[in-house]
Symmetry: C3
Subunit: 348 residues, 3 copies
């Protein structure tokens, strides 16, 4: 990237304030702007940084009125955040795309490959697997037997997908993701020795799902573990066998969902949340970080917290008292003593 304010402004249909020849080669947060970088100001909270920022160009909203002189060249647009995001996407897409199929990969003859693939070094594609068009399978990826992968998927180095799993279009899996490992199912005998219940199901991941590094999604015991369209999972998340996650639900890192639990669409889960097995979470539920959910949540849009979790506001009110429990206890003892004193006097 090496663009002038004029070129960027023309692309964004904005207006330049300052030298139109100012050039940038990288992007930066406004508070970390360096010469040669492009930044933006959308949230008024960050306005203070605009005056001192060393960014060469700053994209601002049309109606931004500086209170002090600004060093940077400004580009005024309708919506600074959206314009900046559009540029980031443009930049991302302008990067050279990897292509071709490495000679050092192992592709079974009975696999069907789409067009315009990239397959990196030391990757394995097994018998019966079907890969769509424009898919990037980076190095050291493993794809088992009879897997289906839709168009435009990106599998980063080291992703592992077990046999029979189904992946939709436009999915992105980061390094170390494991899809389709066995569900955790065992039965104890009379001596408490556990034997394995075969895990005969699979994992179905619909279109547009992104999964972060080292997260794991287990295959179903029977039937399918299902991740619906548009779900976004952060790193180191555990999705157990037969779980179903509804459309556009977003889950932060290190959260775990136990077997057969069903999450509705449009839920938001904080990091390190734990959900017990065999429960249902209504659509639009928001769950605070580190919460533990051991029961079905029926109320759509509920906002919950705690372990076990309940209404978030109520949790915080209880926790505020919790912090003062020692004083509260002292007060109680004091009251008890005073009452005893009263009672004595009455008896006397």
């Amino acid at each position: 990237m090496d663009f002038t304010a004029k070129v960027i402004s023309d692309f964004l249909q904005g207006t330049v304030e300052g030298d139109p020849a100012t050039a940038v080669y990288d992007v930066a947060k406004i508070e970390e702007g360096k010469p040669g970088t492009l930044s933006f100001l959308a949230n008024p909270k960050y306005e203070k940084y605009v005056y001192d920022s060393n960014a060469s160009i700053i994209i601002v909203n049309k109606d931004f009125k500086p209170e002090k002189p600004v060093k940077a060249t400004l580009i005024r647009v309708e919506n600074a955040y959206k314009s900046f995001a559009a540029l980031m996407n443009l930049y991302e897409k302008s990067k050279p795309k990897k292509s071709g199929i490495s000679d050092h990969s192992s592709i079974n003859n009975a696999a069907k490959l789409g067009k315009d693939l990239y397959i990196g070094e030391y990757s394995v594609i097994s018998e019966g697997t079907v890969i769509g068009d424009n898919v990037a399978i980076h190095a050291q990826v493993y794809i088992g037997e009879n897997v289906k992968i839709g168009n435009n998927a990106i599998l980063y180095p080291g992703v592992k997908i077990y046999h029979d799993c189904v992946i939709g279009d436009n999915c992105i899996f980061h390094s170390g993701v494991v899809i389709g490992g066995d569900g955790f199912g065992f039965v104890p005998n009379d001596s408490n020795v556990y034997s394995k219940i075969p895990q005969l199901g699979n994992v179905i991941i619909e279109d547009g799902v992104e999964i972060g590094a080292n997260s794991t999604v287990d295959r179903a015991t029977m039937g399918s573990t299902i991740i619906r369209k548009g779900v976004k999972l952060d790193n180191l998340i555990m999705v157990a066998h037969n779980v179903e996650i509804g459309e556009n639900t977003v889950i932060a890192a290190q959260t775990g969902i136990a077997g057969s639990t069903k999450l509705g669409e449009n839920c938001l889960l904080g990091g390190q949340v734990g959900l017990a097995g065999h429960i249902k979470i209504a659509p639009g539920v928001k769950i605070g970080a580190q919460s533990g959910i051991n029961n079905t949540v029926k109320k759509e849009g509920a906002v919950i917290m705690g372990s076990p979790a309940y209404d978030l506001q109520s949790f915080y009110k209880s926790y505020a008292v919790f912090r003062h429990l020692p004083e509260l206890r002292k007060q109680l003892i004091d009251i008890d003593n005073r009452l005893r004193e009263n009672e004595k006097q009455e008896q006397s």
Copy 2:
């Protein structure tokens, strides 16, 4: 799989109720049964599904008395659950087994290999390593120097085992499992710069242990980190250096056990539990999800919860009051005011 009710019933020594020629090619949960699937009813809680299930065949207990007509062909057996599990195992075992040693693997000449091995693409077996019979080492597995692996082990794609570790018979490790990484040991100097304590021990995993995707078991500083016979670990679990886990203990996902802690046999740990270092947990202890254990638990079979954890029933009783702490506080203030009122009157 494509079996008739008659064939299945004969195998299970059951009796068919309905068309013995009914055929199935897959298994399903009773509530998700589709035509062509085989299901079962064991838990009376699920009886309601038996009447509407679209499963073609349902295995039921001998004494099951339907309250309404059932569409599916029934097979009556002594124990529906066990019979179904037996069929699942049969099905699993009937799958074609991978065999042979890939030309695209790297096997050191000084490694000793057993019979009937499968070694997948891009796997590495290092000097001095000894592998038993009938072991499946899938693609992209790494096995370091002087490792011992027993018979019938299955190492899924991408498992990493560092040097000198010892793995028993019949172990199953899922993708991304790391065995024998360095324990987390450092000593600070006077400027708080930490230097590494060499981790000279190993990991010993006994027979029949299954470890879920992306779990990690660190090598001992000295001596061995030990996982005893029949232990089952779920995904994303952390077992630190010098830990010992007793026979047939079962641990759910994302639990972490800090250095040198010893867990007894037959324990059950929920997900996201944390155990401090250098403590001991008695046999048969059950620990609720998300609990934190910072002290030795001496009582066999104790059932504990909380962070720090104590008796589970007591924890839930305290938590029930916790939820009402704001009201309790108001009540206390109210009592205090009334008492003050009393005291005033007495003085007057």
Copy 3:
């Protein structure tokens, strides 16, 4: 290792008590000492083991006065712990070092390699990457485009480093570590469908950082995620985009740090801790295991606990009362009843 007491004592400038020809070939904890092993006694708490230990040689402090006869040969030194650590380091360094570049690795012609490298099987080094001297890149490692790696780094099997990341000297990354995966950034549209915010930044890891198995460090949205000199991260840790971790901070397993949070130097974090995004933690702060931090901590050296976390001592005092909440509630009801009784009497 196969050394006599005399050789070890000479190296440590100590004095032998017992047979100087006693030989050892391994090390052990004093409570697990076996014939042929070398152990040490530093912490008086472990003195009881010295009398029964089967270790052949035990290193003790100069002034140690046994209360009973000791079977083992003793070596007396100024500081038993430091002497033992010195021996462990010596032993570690004496191990044969892997060297050479595997023919079964894929190294781009436009990568620059330093001297005395080890590159294992099926590893990938991409275009524009620069590797320092004396670096060990074990098997199945992936290093993306334009990565810089300093001298003496050790990357264990299966480490993945995405493009443009910068790694300092003397770093150690264990198996399954993922550096530079995309930060978790999405914007919802009006139908709550999320679109990806391109993650254009990188990860910078300074000198002497060790990262445990299967931990993940995400790249910055813009700018850099930064891990400063001497930081030690345990296994399964999540470091999100744009986080900064100060020098010599040490973090236990399964902890997660959300986006843009800045941790000071010399902090100590327990396991399974969660830090919210966009907060700052002062230098020297200690955080108890499983704590959740949702606000900036300004006080240097603060010791905190709980979720949300506050002063550790206060947390434990509150928790002590929490355990007795049911009794406290009963007491309150009892007082209320007695007070009502009083009030009745007054009115009568």
